[in-house]
């Protein structure tokens, strides 16, 4: 296998699949892939949590609370995620406290570039999730909510046990879409030097221009697989939650 790719690179100089036979480059790809997966999973979880909390706050009695959620959505939905990343890392990053580094001499910010990427991307996708969940919540009949209130459930209990489980089923397809977009948007963390898959890929083809096409190809295939796994899991979940006589 390794010999095949070595010969291929010798015969066709533009098709140097270097990470198939050189351990150091392979290590970069794997490290990048691992970082991409970690980044995606963390952002997925946080963005969904932000979406749920935001949708809950949108139903608050206080007009101030609702205005804050609305402002948050407008800011994060209407500005480019790349600009948000740069702003979080370079602008807000300046104000965060620093801690002593491992060597005891240098200082490191308490939130690393990876941390900022997670925060920024989670808020970005979270803004969309709030709206997605709101649509689902609005699809839950008012009469079902009244039945729950009549049984003594308070607002939070009604939200957790009745509204959310029903809303979730309605909004899964839209949520699906947004989460797919989120996984792909993690590549933008490259801009603040988060060592994810795109970052390492660029570093590989900067060192070995002959590996550029194969590495781009690898990027496409990897993201198709990653998103494929996500979509597969989500649609199985969607099917398992299907209720007779409700929603689609």
């Amino acid at each position: 296998m390794e010999d095949f790719f070595r010969e291929l690179a010798a015969d066709y100089p533009r098709w140097n699949f270097i990470w198939m036979y050189e351990d150091r480059q392979q290590g970069k790809v794997l490290a990048g892939l691992w970082m991409t997966i970690k980044l995606s999973v963390l952002c997925l979880i946080f963005s969904v949590v932000i979406g749920l909390v935001g949708a809950w706050m949108q139903g608050a009695r206080s007009a101030v609370t609702r205005a804050i959620v609305q402002g948050y959505i407008q800011f994060f939905r209407n500005t480019p995620p790349l600009v948000q990343l740069l702003f979080f890392y370079f602008a807000l990053g300046q104000f965060t406290p620093v801690v002593a580094g491992e060597d005891g001499w240098t200082v490191e910010p308490i939130i690393s570039n990876v941390g900022w990427a997670v925060i920024s991307l989670s808020f970005f996708a979270g803004a969309f999730n709030v709206e997605i969940f709101r649509a689902g919540i609005e699809a839950v009949p008012e009469s079902t909510v009244e039945a729950s209130e009549s049984l003594g459930f308070n607002r939070l209990q009604t939200y957790l046990y009745v509204v959310l489980p029903l809303a979730f089923r309605v909004c899964l397809p839209a949520l699906n879409n947004n989460l797919v977009n989120l996984v792909k948007t993690t590549t933008q963390a490259y801009a603040i030097a988060v060592p994810e898959l795109l970052y390492h890929s660029v570093s590989i083809w900067n060192d070995y221009p002959s590996a550029q096409y194969p590495t781009m190809l690898m990027l496409f295939v990897t993201y198709i697989l990653l998103v494929g796994i996500l979509v597969f899991g989500m649609s199985r979940w969607e099917r398992s939650m299907k209720i007779l006589g409700y929603g689609t």
Partner: protein, 248 residues
């Protein structure tokens, strides 16, 4: 003032209720004693449903007072949970939780709201399912049940909270004539056991048979009331006579 059983369990005094500029209730008063079954009849839009929704605080009122076991319902410091433990409500559209089985629907409020022991609640819920003649349907989802069956689950769900008063809001209006009967039999059983019941209904035969007292409402006021025998046979008000003439 503590409530004792010789006082009305539900006391409605000069209640006024408007939706915007539309006045729906124009000074309605009625008293219900413990163990009594009362039926509220009248044309659509006469404020029947609104009135019973005010009893458990689903609608607010603009004037007058409603007390349940001596506790004022429309006061800012109302303990809603305490009220809703006392007052059960069954709706026209059943409003079951579609993502839960019949048994889970019945168990949910006692477990989540009252935090009662799950095994105890389950035993009670199974007994209630038997009581509403739905043995064997415990694991069915609402979507798998007929309208009449769903409505009986809804009754069992309300009873699981051990209410002192049951409100029935046109509970047979969405059912076909055959299933109407099975629901009415269930309510009749309840009434026979001494449950205080307030029903809004268009089932005149049923009202005549079960009710201790009938109230006829029209355009937001109680036009006439009395025990079924006198009410149906000796109605004195022309509006009542006209209404009864059309349906009997």
């Amino acid at each position: 003032m503590t409530w004792t059983a010789d006082q009305p369990i539900v006391s409605i005094k000069k209640v006024h209720k408007s939706f915007g500029t539309l006045e729906v209730l124009k000074g309605v008063s009625l008293d219900v004693m413990k163990g009594e079954v009362i039926c509220i009849i009248g044309p659509s839009g006469s404020g029947k449903s609104t009135l019973i929704r005010c009893i458990n605080g689903l609608n607010d009122i603009q004037g007058g007072s409603i007390t349940v076991e001596g506790q004022e319902v429309h006061t800012p410091d109302l303990d809603k949970l305490a009220l809703r433990r006392k007052v059960g409500m069954v709706f026209q559209q059943y409003n079951l939780f579609p993502h839960k089985t019949a048994l889970e629907n019945v168990m949910m409020a006692p477990v989540k709201v009252l935090r009662q022991n799950k095994a105890d609640v389950e035993a009670r819920a199974r007994a209630l399912m038997k009581k509403v003649r739905l043995e064997g349907k415990e694991d069915s989802y609402p979507g798998e049940l007929s309208g009449g069956q769903q409505q009986r689950v809804a009754i069992a769900r309300s009873l699981a909270m051990n209410p002192d008063v049951m409100l029935f809001d046109e509970v047979t209006a969405a059912l076909d004539p055959e299933t109407v009967k099975e629901v009415l039999v269930t309510i009749k059983d309840l009434a026979a056991e001494g449950m205080t019941c307030i029903l809004v209904t268009h089932e005149m035969g049923f009202a005549r048979e079960v009710a201790d007292h009938i109230y006829f409402t029209d355009r937001g006021v109680i036009v006439e009331h009395g025990p079924p025998a006198t009410f149906f046979d000796e109605a004195s008000d022309p509006r009542t006579q006209e209404f009864l003439g059309q349906i009997l």
